[in-house]
C-alpha cells in the first residue's frame, strides 16, 4: 500500500517536474546571491567565506524544501477537501500515510541537496571529491529527514494559511541564521552558543564545514538526529492515531 501512495506522489511530481526543477535551482542560487555574497563582504572566517557558507546553502535549501513539501502535503491531506477520509476509507493504515509523506519529502530534500552541492561547487569554483560528497550527504540526510518529519507533524495541526507561512518563515530563520549556517556562532552571545552547540543540527552543519576544510568530522550529530527522528516519527504516529479517525 505504501508503494501505491509513493506511486501517487510520483505521478504528481511528474506533473510538476518543471516547477520542481526551477525551485531546485533557484533556492540555492537565491541563498547564494542574497545571503552568502553580501555576508562575504562583512564576515571573515578561517577560510574563504563563500566556501565556508556553502554547507549553509545545502542544509538550508534541502531542509527548507523537505519541510515545505511535508507540511504542505500533510496539511492538504488532513485539512483540505476530505483527502484524509478518502485515504482512510481504503485499507491504508495511518503509518503508511505518514511514511509516504516523510519519504517523498526526504527524497525531494535529498535531490535539492544534490543540486545545491553541484551549484555551489560551480559558483565558488571549489573542488569536492566523491568521498567528501558522500560524507556530506551522510551528514545532511538525517537533517533533511528531521525537517521532513517535523513538517509532517506540524502539518497535522496547522490549518490556517497565515500560521503555515509564519512557521515556514520561522524554520527558514532557524536554518539560515541561528545554527551557524551563514552566521558564525562566535558572533552570538556566549550563553546562546553554549545551548546551540548542544543541538545535533548545529553539529551536522559544523561537520559539513569541517568536511570541506578537511578537518576532524564528528558523527555524533548524525546519531543524535537519528534518535530524534525516531522519537518524532513515534510522536507523529501517536498524534495521527489520536486525530485521524474521530
Amino acid at each position: 500500500m505504501l508503494a501505491v501512495l509513493l506511486y501517487r506522489d510520483w505521478l504528481n511530481i511528474k506533473k510538476n517536474g518543471i516547477s520542481l526543477l526551477v525551485i531546485f535551482t533557484m533556492l540555492p542560487m537565491l541563498l547564494h546571491l542574497f545571503l552568502s555574497l553580501p555576508l562575504s563582504n562583512i564576515i571573515s572566517v578561517d577560510i574563504r567565506y563563500l566556501n565556508w557558507a556553502a554547507p549553509g546553502i545545502w542544509v538550508t535549501a534541502s531542509g527548507l524544501l523537505a519541510f515545505c513539501v511535508a507540511i504542505l502535503r500533510m496539511k492538504k491531506i488532513k485539512h483540505d477537501s476530505g483527502q484524509l477520509d478518502a485515504l482512510l476509507k481504503t485499507p491504508l493504515r495511518n503509518g503508511e500515510i505518514i511514511f509516504s509523506v516523510i519519504i517523498v519529502a526526504t527524497l525531494l530534500g535529498f535531490f535539492q541537496a544534490l543540486v545545491s552541492i553541484g551549484l555551489t561547487v560551480l559558483l565558488n569554483n571549489e573542488y569536492l571529491g566523491f568521498g567528501q560528497i558522500i560524507l556530506i550527504l551522510l551528514q545532511i540526510i538525517p537533517l533533511i529527514n528531521f525537517y521532513a518529519i517535523l513538517g509532517t507533524l506540524l502539518g497535522i495541526f496547522i490549518k490556517d494559511g497565515i500560521v503555515l507561512i509564519s512557521v515556514i518563515l520561522l524554520i527558514f530563520l532557524i536554518l539560515a541564521l541561528s545554527i551557524g549556517s551563514f552566521l558564525p556562532l562566535e558572533i552570538f552571545p556566549t550563553n546562546y552558543v553554549e545551548v546551540v552547540n548542544k543541538l545535533p543540527l548545529t553539529s551536522i552543519i559544523n561537520s559539513c564545514q569541517m568536511i570541506i576544510q578537511n578537518g576532524a568530522v564528528s558523527y555524533i550529530g548524525i546519531f543524535l538526529t537519528f534518535l530524534l527522528n525516531i522519537f518524532l516519527v513515534l510522536l507523529t504516529l501517536v498524534v495521527s492515531y489520536k486525530t485521524f479517525r474521530k
Binding site: V4, Q83, R245
Partner: protein
C-alpha cells in the same frame, strides 16, 4: 438470510453532542437497506462509522462477521464507500484517481486499469478520463466518486446520498447499476429522497436524533399507519381562524396544518373527510386531493411529534 452488517447498541458522542444513541440494526446479505433521516439525524455518522472514519464510543458493529474495531483493514478492502462531499484527489486525473484507489484496495495495476475503464464506460465519463477533477461539473464528479466506490468490486456498498447533485439521466444510470449489483452485493445508502427509498429499498430505517425510530419493509412501515390517509384542500384564500376552530372540533381529524392557501390533514375515516369537505365548501374551496399515507407522511409523523 445471513447478516451482512450488524450494529448493536452503538453510541457516539462528539463535543458533548450525542450523535448516535443505542443504535441497533442489521442488514441482510444481498439486500438494499436505506437509512432515511433529516439533516443532522446521524445518517452520515452511521456510514462513516462502518468504514472506520469515525470510531464508536460503545457498542459492537460487524460487517460480514468481522468486528469493525479489530478488523477494520479487512472490512475496508471489501467495502466501497461514497461520501456526501466531493473528495477526489485534485492532483490526479480521473483515470489516475480510479486506478490509485483500486490499487489501494488491493487490485493489481492491470485490474485497476481495466475496472477503471469499464466503470468510465458504464457511467459515461470515458471522455473525461484524462481531465483533472476540477475541470468536471459537480454531477460528473459525483459519478466518478460513485465509480471509485465500485472500482475494486466490493461486497458491501455504502453510499451517502449517492444521487444528490446528479441530473436525471445520471440518476437513472446510477440506479441501473445498483439494480444490477443488488442481487450479489449488500447495499446500504442514506438518503432524504423518499421516492428513491420507496423504489429501491428492501428495507428502510427512519433515523431521528441518532436512533432508529422504525425499520422494516416499505409495506410493513405503511401498515403501521393503519389505513391513515392524507387529505389536502386548496382554497382561494388562506383558511380563516373560524374555519380552523370548527375543523379542530372534529374528533378524528389528525395534524391539521395550513400551508399558504392549502389545508392538509390526516384521518382514518373517510366520513371525517366528508364532514370537513362539507364545511370547506362554505369557504371558496378550489381543489381537493386525497392519498393514502406514504413513506414521506410516516417520516414526517415520526420525526415531528407523531401523526396522531
Amino acid at each position: 438470510m445471513e447478516a451482512s452488517i450488524t450494529l448493536k447498541a452503538i453510541g457516539k458522542t462528539f463535543r458533548n453532542n450525542t450523535l448516535l444513541a443505542d443504535l441497533s440494526f442489521g442488514v441482510e446479505k444481498g439486500s438494499t437497506f436505506v437509512i432515511l433521516g433529516e439533516n443532522g439525524a446521524g445518517k452520515s455518522v452511521v456510514l462513516k462509522l462502518l468504514v472506520g472514519l469515525i470510531e464508536k464510543d460503545v457498542g459492537m458493529a460487524y460487517i460480514h462477521g468481522k468486528d469493525i474495531s479489530t478488523r477494520g483493514d479487512e472490512i475496508r478492502s471489501i467495502t466501497g464507500y461514497m461520501p456526501q462531499i466531493i473528495d477526489l484527489d485534485d492532483e490526479l486525473t480521473i483515470l489516475e484517481n480510479l486506478e490509485i484507489f483500486g490499487r489501494l484496495h488491493g487490485l493489481s495495476v492491470r485490474d485497476a486499469n481495466t475496472n477503471a475503464l469499464n466503470w468510465a464506460e458504464r457511467l459515461n465519463f470515458a471522455t473525461n478520463l484524462n481531465q483533472m477533477p476540477n475541470d468536471l461539473s459537480n454531477g460528473n464528479k459525483r459519478l466518478v466518486q460513485f465509480a471509485r466506490a465500485l472500482v475494486h468490486d466490493p461486497h458491501v456498498i455504502i453510499l451517502d446520498e449517492p444521487t444528490t447533485g446528479l441530473d436525471p439521466h445520471s440518476r437513472i444510470k446510477v440506479w441501473d447499476v445498483l439494480d444490477k449489483l443488488h442481487q450479489h452485493k449488500t447495499i446500504l445508502f442514506a438518503t432524504q429522497n423518499f421516492a428513491e427509498a420507496e423504489r429501491y429499498a428492501d428495507r428502510i430505517a427512519i433515523l431521528h436524533e441518532g436512533n432508529i425510530k422504525m425499520d422494516g419493509t416499505l409495506e410493513r412501515l405503511i401498515e403501521t399507519t393503519h389505513g391513515l390517509s392524507r387529505y389536502r384542500l386548496s382554497f382561494s384564500q388562506p383558511p380563516t381562524d373560524e374555519f380552523m376552530e370548527k375543523l379542530k372540533a372534529f374528533p378524528r381529524i389528525l395534524r391539521p396544518q395550513v400551508k399558504g392557501t392549502e389545508l392538509e390533514f390526516y384521518s382514518r375515516e373517510r366520513k371525517q373527510f366528508f364532514k370537513a369537505l362539507e364545511l370547506a365548501l362554505k369557504y371558496e374551496l378550489e381543489d381537493i386531493d386525497t392519498s393514502i399515507c406514504r413513506l414521506h407522511d410516516l417520516f414526517v409523523g415520526l420525526t415531528d411529534g407523531g401523526l396522531e
